[in-house]
Symmetry: D2
Subunit: 325 residues, 4 copies
Amino acid sequence: MGADHARILHRDVPHADVVMVADVDRNRAQAVADGIPGCRVASDARALIDADEVDAVLVASSDATHVEYVLACLDLRKPVLCEKPLAPTAAECAQIVAAEDAVVGGGLPLVSVGFMRRFDPGYVELKGLVDDGALGVPVMVHSVGRGVSAPAGTDELTVTGSAIHDLDIVPWLLSSPVVEVSWHAARQSPEVADRRDPQLMLLRTANGALTTVDIFLNARYGYDTRCEVVGSMASASLTEPHRVIRDEGLGRGHGYGSDWRPRFAEAYRLQNRAWVESLVSGTVTPLATARDGLQAALVADAVIASMHADGGFVRVRADAGVAGP
Amino acid sequence: MGADHARILHRDVPHADVVMVADVDRNRAQAVADGIPGCRVASDARALIDADEVDAVLVASSDATHVEYVLACLDLRKPVLCEKPLAPTAAECAQIVAAEDAVVGGGLPLVSVGFMRRFDPGYVELKGLVDDGALGVPVMVHSVGRGVSAPAGTDELTVTGSAIHDLDIVPWLLSSPVVEVSWHAARQSPEVADRRDPQLMLLRTANGALTTVDIFLNARYGYDTRCEVVGSMASASLTEPHRVIRDEGLGRGHGYGSDWRPRFAEAYRLQNRAWVESLVSGTVTPLATARDGLQAALVADAVIASMHADGGFVRVRADAGVAGP
Amino acid sequence: MGADHARILHRDVPHADVVMVADVDRNRAQAVADGIPGCRVASDARALIDADEVDAVLVASSDATHVEYVLACLDLRKPVLCEKPLAPTAAECAQIVAAEDAVVGGGLPLVSVGFMRRFDPGYVELKGLVDDGALGVPVMVHSVGRGVSAPAGTDELTVTGSAIHDLDIVPWLLSSPVVEVSWHAARQSPEVADRRDPQLMLLRTANGALTTVDIFLNARYGYDTRCEVVGSMASASLTEPHRVIRDEGLGRGHGYGSDWRPRFAEAYRLQNRAWVESLVSGTVTPLATARDGLQAALVADAVIASMHADGGFVRVRADAGVAGP
Amino acid sequence: MGADHARILHRDVPHADVVMVADVDRNRAQAVADGIPGCRVASDARALIDADEVDAVLVASSDATHVEYVLACLDLRKPVLCEKPLAPTAAECAQIVAAEDAVVGGGLPLVSVGFMRRFDPGYVELKGLVDDGALGVPVMVHSVGRGVSAPAGTDELTVTGSAIHDLDIVPWLLSSPVVEVSWHAARQSPEVADRRDPQLMLLRTANGALTTVDIFLNARYGYDTRCEVVGSMASASLTEPHRVIRDEGLGRGHGYGSDWRPRFAEAYRLQNRAWVESLVSGTVTPLATARDGLQAALVADAVIASMHADGGFVRVRADAGVAGP
């Protein structure tokens, strides 16, 4: 995703220059830099963060490195947009929140989290309908995330690496935090050996709404993100975006992407544009904050606790280590 | 289609007994009769028409035989439902209209024509929207008829055998007769050797509305019937009926039938039920009449005249041989 | 629904004569009889069941009367099609099953239950895809039942009167019985005062598949039945049947019915036809049996037990009173 | 559209600075400039074109001014992106083509025309299917352009101002120029007093394909652009892009925009980005050229000739004044 972000910033986001890139695979970094006039390859990520000509940093490295890089940016008071998850554990997220609080005090936050769905035009339209009451009050949400296939991973990684998007977007849609959750295995797909797949989660938000989260990483048929908000007066659902429908071979239909990038290309562009615009104008970032990243991690922790228990409901912990949101 | 009609009457239409069937291929007739308790095979079609226990006749034989059989039914004053076209030429249709007028005078008509689209729930709903003004006034119609492949035939057969449905249904939808037409060849499909395919026709109805008729008998992709009525305030279109949508192989879609029978199964059932109900109750048939069959043939004649000329508009002839509709 | 059934049998199902109707409201019965030549009004339901000219009985009276009438039919060895639910409680269903076993021994069953969804062309197509392996193995099902508004009722009635359809159709689709369930309240719709609405249920079938059942009887927006079967290789969903799509008022869309009758009109017709055909031919009814009715009632019992407990999973009881299916 | 273009260039297109704007209404220009740091308002369009700090010009003024401004840019050898139409008449378009030829010789063209549909992801996908043979050979096209309402205008303006998009995009899709056309009035909408609306055009491209163009500027129901390419083996159609579908009020549907801007926002962004990228990299513009603008104007001339005659087919003139494309 790092190469994609560099390309988006270069081709699609004005008022930002991509001056330096870094990657553990230097050839990969060089390939990116070759496509961007004036872009250099840093010797390593820390050198990039430290470089004087770097005013802001976008972190799209492996999850385990997020904490170190984000903290390094905070040390230098450089704005940083960190890909989700902010960190693999809620404890580390809390560490970042605390560090940011110490650095910025009451000033502009420096850390943004790449929950790009918040900028997807479909989710934005859904939230608009919720916010203006067009659906009545929201009573249920059905959130579905399916992929073609996933690299090997654990049951827990499904939650922290994939469902984390749903755990962030549902409370954002409803403007109400998740307060309790439960986790349930569906019938195991015989196509999948490494982890339980699909998985079903129930989320209860503070407003009482009940959400089902259906995650199936090896669904084979396509990359498919669905979300329905059921209101007391009306319902609204994301549609699979497509521009062309084909009639062929005794059928009528349209295609799915094979991964998330075409589906969320516009969301990434709008997110990164919003980030740059907030930096240029010196205003509060409209992206997810470190606290949002922490909150999603706390919900993920509760889901995993339910997974490790009997599937009963588990309360989401309010983190004692940092002030409440 | 004869076997289908016998099955529909037996399984789906109450208050009618299928007592006799005939077919030039006696084995085929026998196969149909075997599926219907009490049904006998006639030695030939005339024997069936003449049989005392036969109260009404459904003609689904080859087009060229329609006139003879319908006239034979009229001679015996037996109600007859004749598959479209009523006859291959307008002149023969006029002969039937005249014969029926002579037989029934001002009484109940005996001849019905199998323009089953008039009973398709989609077309019926479309006509309801037109009739109640929900679309404003209708200004344009787009009528599309596509099939997977067609047996060999002439350019003219496309008009008299296939487009004839559109030539009947559009004026029925608009309650306004077709007054002039033009015919145009599209680019020839390289898949088709026997006749020009696809073909495009323009129809002008008396109310001024302009209709495009797109007929492509060898469209390969599926059997597909479309119709949009564009009104001055709103538009309405048939949808391809389907009950299930499938997600598979990086796509989302639904199927087409390979011919017209699944698409119009409900229309045939409702048409045949309406026919039997009118016979049982002794009321006027709500099906297309002989005059409707003649009128469609006159429009087809004009389309073929345009085909044989330069594609300019040709007026539809009012038939002098019979009283006006 | 009784009037609808009489009309369906008279107009849409051959080889059956509707000779007698009964209703607690005699005027209503008379109105139905007036539309059917030769149909008489019985003095009461028992008189109808007892009448010599009545060969088979369709029970569409209030739920509480089902047991009495079905047992009366069994006494006379008359085939009976009983609207769902077979009886309000599993115990009563078991009583019917036992009575039927006693009457017919190893012979043809006499009792059919009106789970008409089994004849809906959409569900039939879905089941075909499951059965032929087109989806891989089924791993999850999402079943949704929503209505515009419901008369007052209890939380439990939502389960026994409405969700009962889902509790029957899901194991039928998967050819696997429901073995455990849980029940969850969603956020209460402020539009609804009488009972908890919407409700969410989870079903685990013996094959391991996990099903969500979302029931919202006062969803306001339309009568809407959805079902998705998620397989290990592909997914398939019911579509809302519609024949026409309208473009008007800055929108494009199609309509919902305001209740279940238009949505399942074809299912009722095909169910009732199948029932009559099995009676005429003396073959086993393809409709749901008394044992299916009992099984759905046992699942409903478990759902209600979860509702009355803490929402944890509850095993579905195997009924000791009758032999296993 | 000028304000939109300025905003797009400022917010969505990197590597371009909007340094100056002009408008006959100076207040309107000032409002645009106020939203763009460093942007000045020119005293008039010619002053803007002449300004040293202006390297390239985007012309979105009234149609009648296009020729003057484009020629002024050519005089100064400044690249210019001119909104469609390039000029109101084919003769003026030819004048621009000749002027550009004189200025650039065999060098990079300076004039681009804002036929933004060529950058719409839907049309691009359609063209990809045509080009790679996925549809077989294209045999028919149905192109539909409808709007909610239009300001007063003449019959001819419908062709030169609106249908011009279809006259450009169809030959672009098919890689085959339009060689003959005909024009037909549909039934006049009683909502429209100023001009004939809707109008229907037939286009024959050099490859033999036949296209229908249905233009209805006052269709009331929404801004709706449709295009189906029918091939010998398959068909493909644009879909109305939408992100959310709503269930409410006994219906299910999605919205239309009230004008073209939301529908083609992405096309404008991608077009303008492509223009800037070609300027920055010194490569040939991938936008429509002056010759494309001329070609569309010649087709429009032929359509209007058919309108003024009897609706018969009219050959598209090859313009003698400039070398062939």
